[in-house]
């Protein structure tokens, strides 16, 4: 009760205050359109410009206009959004410079003179309301001077953002711990820090009719094929949506097959993974407001590769990959295989195993299919609950759910212990997928597979697998066959599928990605201590 009361009051207060604002301050009811704003040119009259701006931004209580005189004599104004700009910079640097430290001059300061004096890293001119408004809303400070029909957009953004931290969904033991944040600038810097190359191209567009979210398309010039870059650009440019709040919006708008349960674009919050993809000739799309970058094109096998595969010794990397492939198959097929074998093909089981399964199932009131569905659904519910609940509670839920309920269900004879084991293995296997989206795919497809297994046994499973294969074989990711290099067969690329060959052997980039720039590793780099290099062995 008390909590609710507090909450309610906290929310209610500002609402009340806002209610006091007379509506007449807002000049008009209908929304401003970009085209209209772009057509509105700035005038030489400062007051007029501020009025116009206030008419547009007047509905925003956090919109601040600070009028002052440059050097104490020439009227000017700085327009900002409160909370978006770096106050220290605004007050201590910008305003101090213009008001206090302005050299007394009788000449009216021209825009160029101002530009020379303003100590900011990035300054742009704007000539119409659209540029001005966009700049202000993105956290820049706009400097308007009386007598100029142009304004200066001074980069001063200084809003609070989350610090760079380890990516929650893709942790590694060995490897960089930095993850993307919600800030596009920071994210781009994370990439720049990894690839110091003038050929790392960042093309920025703003997507979202209303949200104007900055979206950056990043690629390596000379590595990524031009067609691919053009295709990504084209698909991004055709997006017309009100807002982009997460890269998933873009993903659903640019993928090749919108009906597929398979992710066709890889989403990652690891900058090193994005950098590696760029070096392979892929294109990354970073969205402001989310730590998840998109990588396109992405084949199926890449979804099962973890960044760490490349940071560990290649034998271990290979072993882990093989395990991961098996785990993916298990997370998709294990429950259905179990159902099929125990309810249709008991002859396949070793005699003793059959007897212990039969003993365990003795007294279980459900058919195996229902038992499996029940267990799987409760497992999924448990997992979902664990994610949503506050962290400390979440753990308690998993413990209660997994241990207590599982144990109780078995002792009560509702579920056979073997089914619990199968469900648990399936769960663990699905956690092995390095990309969350792919794990989700397997989890989803598991249920129809179980139904098929329950009705037609292994034949049903095979039919399901065939259906999935047909679907996947027809998929493309930005024109690239989804199953490459498995099929169409590209044996040259098999060094990086289930096997992770040592770095010196991974000479070529994937064939379809970088046709013009095939080789990334020089020839003959396989280490021969003592035979090559000036520091050759002691012998």
């Amino acid at each position: 009760m008390l909590m609710w009361h507090l909450l309610f009051r906290k929310v209610a207060k500002p609402l009340k205050r806002r209610g006091k604002v007379p509506l007449k301050h807002i000049a008009r009811q209908e929304p401003y359109r970009d085209r209209e704003l772009a057509a509105a040119r700035l005038s030489r009259d400062l007051e007029g410009n501020i009025r116009a701006l206030r008419a547009v931004l007047g509905g925003c209580q956090d919109f601040v206009t600070r009028s002052f005189r440059i050097g104490g004599s020439w009227p000017a104004a700085v327009v900002t959004i409160d909370g978006m700009v770096d106050k220290a910079f605004l007050n201590e640097v910008l305003l101090r410079n213009l008001i206090v430290e302005w050299p007394g001059s009788t000449l009216r300061p021209t825009l160029d003179a101002l530009r020379d004096r303003v100590p900011a890293g990035k300054i742009q001119e704007c000539r119409n309301l659209q540029d001005l408004v966009t700049g202000v809303l993105a956290g820049d400070a706009v400097l308007l001077v009386d007598g100029e029909n142009r304004g200066l957009v001074v980069s001063a953004e200084g809003y609070a953002s989350r610090a760079i931290s380890e990516p929650a969904s893709e942790a590694v033991v060995r490897g960089p711990r930095e993850g993307f944040t919600e800030n596009l600038r920071v994210n781009l810097s994370l990439l720049r820090r990894r690839i110091h190359s003038p050929n790392l191209i960042v093309e920025e567009i703003r997507l979202g009719r209303i949200s104007h979210t900055p979206v950056a398309m990043v690629y390596l010039r000379g590595v990524a094929s031009r067609e691919l870059v053009g295709e990504v650009r084209r698909r991004l440019n055709r997006i017309d949506i009100d807002g982009v709040l997460e890269s998933a919006y873009l993903e659903e708008l640019i993928e090749d097959n919108p009906y597929s349960p398979f992710p066709q674009v890889l989403a990652t919050e690891r900058p090193d993974k994005v950098a590696a993809a760029l070096l392979e000739g892929r294109v990354a799309v970073l969205t402001n407001g989310t730590p998840f970058a998109l990588i396109a094109p992405t084949e199926f096998v890449v979804m099962l590769h973890a960044a760490e595969d490349y940071y560990q010794r290649y034998l271990l990397g290979t072993a882990l990959r093989v395990m991961r492939y098996l785990a993916f198959a298990a997370s998709l097929l294990l429950p259905s295989a179990y159902i099929a074998v125990t309810t249709f093909h008991q002859e396949m089981l070793p005699t003793r195993l059959l007897m212990s399964i039969a003993a365990a199932r003795e007294g279980v009131p459900f058919p195996a299919l229902v038992e499996a569905l029940l267990m799987e659904i409760s497992f999924e519910a448990l997992r979902e609950a664990g994610i949503r609940l506050p962290r400390p509670v979440g753990q308690a839920v998993s413990i209660v759910g997994a241990l207590v309920i599982g144990q109780a269900a078995v002792t009560a004879g509702l579920v056979s212990p073997l089914m619990v084991i199968v469900v648990a293995i399936t769960g663990i296997a699905s956690f092995m997928a390095p990309i969350y989206d792919l794990a989700v795919t397997a989890r989803l497809l598991r249920f129809p597979m179980m139904l098929l297994a329950g009705s037609l046994g292994l034949f049903g499973v095979m039919a399901g697998v065939l259906a999935i294969l047909i679907h996947v074989a027809g998929l493309r990711s930005f024109g690239m066959p989804y199953l490459a290099p498995l099929t169409p067969v590209k044996p040259a690329d098999w060094k990086d599928v289930a096997v992770r060959a040592p770095v010196w052997a991974l000479r070529a980039r994937p064939a379809q990605l970088a046709p013009a720039n095939r080789y990334r590793v020089a020839r003959g780099l396989k280490p021969y201590p003592g035979r090559t290099g000036p520091a050759g062995g002691g012998g």
Binding site: Q346, E362, L369
Partner: protein, 416 residues
């Protein structure tokens, strides 16, 4: 597109909805049959016994509060029914068995000697045709009237008699004195030209138990000191099952049996002796014991000239495991001498088998098949009369025995 999705969903539902209507069967609804036996029933009918596992009893006390340790319930149950054919009898069983009998895990087929003597073709046809019965399960012949006992004889080590039989067969090369056949191999031999089938015989051997202590007998009836440990846990069974020798068939009819020594003679000729021990006289009226490691054999029709005959070449290797002789086994000549003794002993076993088989006219050795392979024309002349022809043919048994190792000592301890 959405229409297509809807169509696919509809199709999916209609195909998966009738789940359980067709071939689906839950594990716990199955009566898992581990052994099948065919006995003579009344009035020329066949009586079929099946041994069905009770999985719950087998899983023991661990599960949900069922009776504590010890075997309170026998983990298997028998059902019997009679019918004119095997299949009919089996369907009769379903009127008694509460579960659908499931034969895919059947491990042994036991056939009564009398049934075998009347011919197995009809009996085996069902097993051969069935999709559930596996071809590599064992086919055994039980002494007449003992089928039921052999199936029932409890055993403390393997809880289920069928598995006990299988366990004995698995370790058959420890003695090489019985010759079990898999169902598939038996049928192949039945069908092959110039090769008569055989398989092992199962018999009951009384155990050394005092009267009144049969199965279910009083546990408190104290026996000898050594027995007490056993009888505290379970009643000592009255009889043990023993697999011994080989039932010999002519065509599909059983015509007799080889004893244990002769059976090994048969296995020598077929090159199937993979182990076992042999006691070989080493002069001085004493013996050494040889552990057989492996053997190979070849049957060749006799080379040119002279009447038709066969050469059987047997090669074997073994280790000396026990020596009562004073001979110094370090000396190669001694080892060769001993090996020669062993070879002679093997030849005797083979001769015994040959003699016995010849009286039954059953070519269990596959001489005919060998002749067929090497001299097809000759074979076609004699194949119709083969049971009459082959017993008269001369067989030259050539044995080459080698002794490899002598264990960890060279000379037996010498009391001084």
């Amino acid at each position: 597109m959405w229409r297509r999705v809807a169509f696919a969903a509809l199709l999916f539902v209609t195909l998966t909805l009738p789940a359980g209507c067709w071939d689906q069967r839950e594990v716990e609804q199955l009566g898992i049959v581990l052994a099948t036996a065919v006995d003579k029933g009344h009035g020329g009918q066949l009586e079929v016994h099946v041994q069905v596992v009770i999985p719950r009893a087998l899983a023991g006390g661990g599960m949900g509060g069922m009776g504590g340790g010890g075997m309170t319930v026998r983990p298997y149950r028998h059902y019997s029914a009679t019918g004119a054919t095997v299949f009919e009898a089996m369907r009769q069983l379903s009127m008694e068995a509460p579960r659908r009998l499931f034969y895919a895990h059947n491990q042994v087929i036991l056939i009564d000697e009398e049934v075998a003597r009347e011919g197995l073709r009809e009996v085996l046809d069902f097993f051969d045709r069935s999709t559930q019965i596996r071809r590599h399960i064992w086919l055994l012949i039980a002494k007449h009237g003992q089928v039921h006992e052999v199936l029932m004889a409890p055993s403390p080590l393997e809880l289920i008699p069928a598995q006990r039989l299988v366990g004995m067969i698995r370790e058959r090369s420890l003695s090489s004195r019985f010759a079990p056949q898999r169902l598939g191999d038996f049928v192949e031999m039945l069908e092959a030209e110039g090769q008569e089938p055989f398989t092992a015989l199962a018999t009951l051997v009384p155990t050394r138990v005092e009267k009144g202590k049969g199965p279910g007998g009083g546990q408190e009836a104290g026996g000898r000191e050594g027995d007490r440990g056993v009888s505290e846990f379970a009643a000592e069974p009255r009889a043990n099952i023993r697999l011994s020798g080989a039932a010999v068939f002519l065509g599909d009819r059983m015509v007799g049996a080889l004893d244990e020594r002769e059976t090994r003679g048969l296995l020598w000729v077929r090159g199937e002796v993979r182990g076992g021990s042999m006691t070989v006289p080493c002069g001085e009226g004493k013996n050494i014991t040889v552990e057989i490691l492996r053997s190979r054999a070849r049957i060749e029709p006799r080379e040119e000239g002279g009447p038709l005959g066969f050469v059987v070449q047997i090669r074997t290797e073994g280790n000396v495991t026990e020596s009562h002789c004073r001979k110094d086994l370090r000396q190669p000549e001694v080892m060769e001498e001993l090996a020669a003794y062993q070879a002679a002993e093997i030849a005797k076993e083979v001769e015994a088998a040959l003699t016995r088989a010849e009286t039954m006219r059953a070519d269990v050795f596959g001489f005919g098949a060998a002749l067929h392979r090497k001299k097809p024309e000759l074979w076609h002349q004699v194949k119709d009369r083969w049971p009459e022809v082959w017993p008269a043919l001369a067989v030259d048994v050539q044995v080459e025995a080698r002794l490899r190792r002598t264990g960890l000592t060279n000379i037996p301890p010498e009391p001084k």
